[in-house]
Subunit: 309 residues, 4 copies
């Protein structure tokens, strides 16, 4: 089969400081659909054009940040094979029983070298995108409720041993390196952008002094005009914008970085190129690092390297 | 590895009636880059953002139409495995030696049940997209030469046994069915849209009285505004437009159908959703067939079902 | 003062066959705001970004078509001056008292040589666009309710003596000719596109065997992406589309023609150039008439010249 | 006539430090067409879709800045009438003979209360936009050479007595106030945005300690996608970007501020609403001044109030 193994980013679980405020933000401003709440207090959301029950989960905590990032794999056999491959690679894994997350099958959980928690799962209930599988329309009203991203797309994580991360994603899961940024020495990587599909990134990682940090969770919108619409809605709702609208040099995507009420950074973006396993990776050297991140400003804003949750 | 086997449509080989006129059309109007000519008279083109040496090849002939449609596979071992799988499936295969097409490795050729010639190959020289692999720009001048599609994207073929085609693509290559259109009886398929990736279609097929016919070769552009730009350039160059700009119900892509000087139908399109192997296929029934093809007009134009090369 | 006299198209009054169905269409599908109903049964609408109380009025009748097209003039003194100028030009005028239309001042009504009823008025209550005049936002939710045009923009009328119309608009009101289409003889005009501002047309007229006919009322949307959105919403609501999305050669605007439930043709469009009184008019000759109207199809569809209300 | 008096901004004359570098910048990067050079060393440019011979003129000098900003008036009689009106208003005027600027008629020059030099003229040779006045196309290749704005659109000037400026533009020329920004006292204006047409601004002015300063000359592009394209081209050419892409609260336009090689600030923008003489002006109070200028960042960048030439 052409696409096997890990299919795509499936869910992000984030910590928020005030649950009601956050539910209002993610449902009304972001325009995601709340699909459920569980006994432990987690609130589940999906983007309008996603079909699985949830892709974004929040829980109340004393500090913001990310609990876990999940990838959907092809099927249950793949899940067990990858669990076995992880163990053979020397990684401890843990099974979380089906149903511990709403409408989600058994999960295999492990830690990256950067101490981020990753989860694999094969099953999440298809609740549809609000349109029938027979004779659908092109889109429906939910596509214009709030910012209304199409899908939760990827995450950018910060931590120490990103080389260990990269090796694990390559060796165990077969991810491909799409782009990388080098530090002043011309050898050490500042950042890796990796994919399990044709997306320019399914996960990205930046070298950082502290492990298990989140830089941002990213959401896809349809077009540059929708990026502007997102920025407008952020201003109308007095959402804190970090930077944008602008373009990344890396992946060429057009973007806005902004913050949820707890200070977790989010991204809405569109565009960027598509990649394949036979594509030569792109390298950015230190003298062009500004342009690699923010193609128009051509310099890093201080927040990019320092503000994480 | 997440993406294995067949990676993507790699090249289309078309017959044209007048080579000079066609070279002018594909280079100046379509804005593809001519990358070479071979001893047998074939002229090779690539789209600006493609990295492989060629994706579109024309040769002079007495009738228009498609000689072959090629898919790139992951590597040489995959090529031989798929050759073996084809044979095991009962399909005759033929090896074409490396170099028979410019900058292209060994090909494995076979016929679909609809008599279309399909080629698999693993190697095509990476000539780049005109930008370096170190510190590139977001795009360059070639992105605005003529219609300037990003890539050759997919084909739609016409023939009799599309059920046989579908079974072969599923069973041997692991393609997924993304959408299908049913005839009046509610059972027989008029059309299948299949993918080996997350694209809504890498190949599509429509049931037709005559085998080995081409409906169109499709090229991707960046945005709906680029679709308008393409339509403008077609008018400025008095290119024959079949229909559009408009939207498809199937895949949701926004599109123009038009003809090359020999009468081969081409498409420029943007957008459409992305799919994964776990996505439930979409079905269109006969009463909505018009809307499935042309979402705005909601009726087929007579040419759609009859004009093929 | 730079802008004096006639300011802009201010209201169109149309006849519809079924009032409830039409109110639903204009409010829910078109996304106009109903601003009132009067004792005579007329229903008043405005576009979201218009500030005056109404720009589009419908009444129930046995036949579709246009009762009157109104232009707003600078002030009451201008109204009386233009009334006097019309009389001096030999045109009969009629005063309609303030309040006969809701929130609308005194009107001066007269007939064009093509028998269309034109109304001038200076006063219509400013009800705002839903945003304050102090510290407003960039737009608000009404901008995404239905097709949500920005404004009623212009009309295209059909009738016999369009030369008489043109002369009147030029000599009495100082309109400028922006574009014209010539018939086969190279002399007789098929169509005139005229402006009282920098819009490429505030009113247009086509030569036709029958007087007092309406070709379409046109509504402005923000962008080509909003034109696509409009076409999508038309299909979702099974609105009858005449043609489009496409581009006009004349004015360069990008457009859709479609029909209200009574058969009145409407247009949503974006773009087109801006003109000034010192701009040389553009002429289209008969051999390019197709391209002048539908820039991509480069031929008239039969409906363009025949279907009017 | 509906449009009389002052028609539009017609030309800006700027000082640059290095002529060759500036010619390269304005022709290759900005994509304006050089239309001539005169004996005094001035170089003349026009935007692709402008029809008059020039709209932007540069000359070499030791300091950057603006020599003069010109408005085209309806005709020669209007020119002399406005000259007479200026004198009656107490303003000294100077006649510059026809031909002193290439292909430009007699000019009437005067100083604003803020000491900026304004010129009125009625004649500038129509050299066309590269397309015929008979059966033109929708656009041509020059529309994609460099940033390729459609037209020089307006200027923003800095100086002391902006109230005097406003009164002069209103009383002598009949300009309308479209938007204004108030200082902390809620009475004093920080800025006025004024129009002689339906554009949201033909000239704008900000209160500043030093007279005769230029904040920026603004150029119109077609769409938000063209704004992105402009920002991309700036980065490709290492042009210094001040801010953007972003949106203004005032006028709602979407924009980039950037600098020419001499440090003169330029703007490319799209969109914004259209206004009429009967439209109530919009007021921004001090607490929302950030949002009024930069709608997304909601704060002024320090350069906005301090960097002028």
């Amino acid at each position: 089969m052409p696409m096997t193994g890990v299919l795509r980013p499936g869910h992000a679980v984030l910590r928020v400081l005030d649950l009601d405020e956050s539910v209002d933000f993610y449902s009304r401003v972001m325009g995601m659909k709340e699909t459920g709440r569980d006994k432990s207090g987690r609130v589940y959301f999906k983007c309008w054009d996603e079909r699985d029950h949830n892709s974004f989960v929040i829980r109340k905590a004393d500090t913001a940040g990310m609990d876990a990032f999940g990838f959907k794999v092809l099927n249950q056999a793949t899940l067990y094979r990858l669990e076995s491959d992880l163990k053979a690679y020397g990684v401890n894994t843990e099974r979380i029983p089906a149903g511990e997350m709403l409408e989600t099958g058994e999960r295999v959980r492990f830690q990256l070298p950067t101490k981020h928690t990753i989860e694999l799962y094969a099953e999440k209930t298809d609740v549809g995108n609000g349109m029938p599988y027979i004779n659908p329309e092109a889109w429906h009203a939910d596509a214009e409720k709030g910012i209304a991203p199409i899908r939760m797309d990827h995450c950018l994580i910060y931590g120490g041993d990103i080389d260990g991360n990269k090796k694990l994603f390559e060796d165990v899961f077969g991810f491909n390196l799409v782009e990388r940024v080098l530090l002043e020495d011309g050898e050490t990587a500042l950042a890796y952008f990796m994919t399990c599909s044709t997306k320019a990134h399914d996960i990205a990682m930046v070298r950082h002094g502290e492990d298990n940090k989140l830089h941002h969770i990213s959401f896809l919108v349809d077009s540059w005009e929708k990026v502007l619409r997102a920025a407008d809605l952020m201003s109308m709702n007095r959402v804190s914008i970090d930077i944008g609208p602008t373009r990344h040099g890396i992946t060429r995507g057009a973007t806005i970085y902004f913050f949820d009420p707890s200070g977790n950074r989010l991204e809405t973006f569109c565009g960027g190129y598509q990649t394949y396993p036979d594509c030569h990776p792109i390298t950015w050297t230190w003298e062009d690092v500004g342009r690699s991140i923010f193609y128009h400003d051509r310099k890093l804003n201080p927040a990019f390297l320092s503000v994480v949750t």
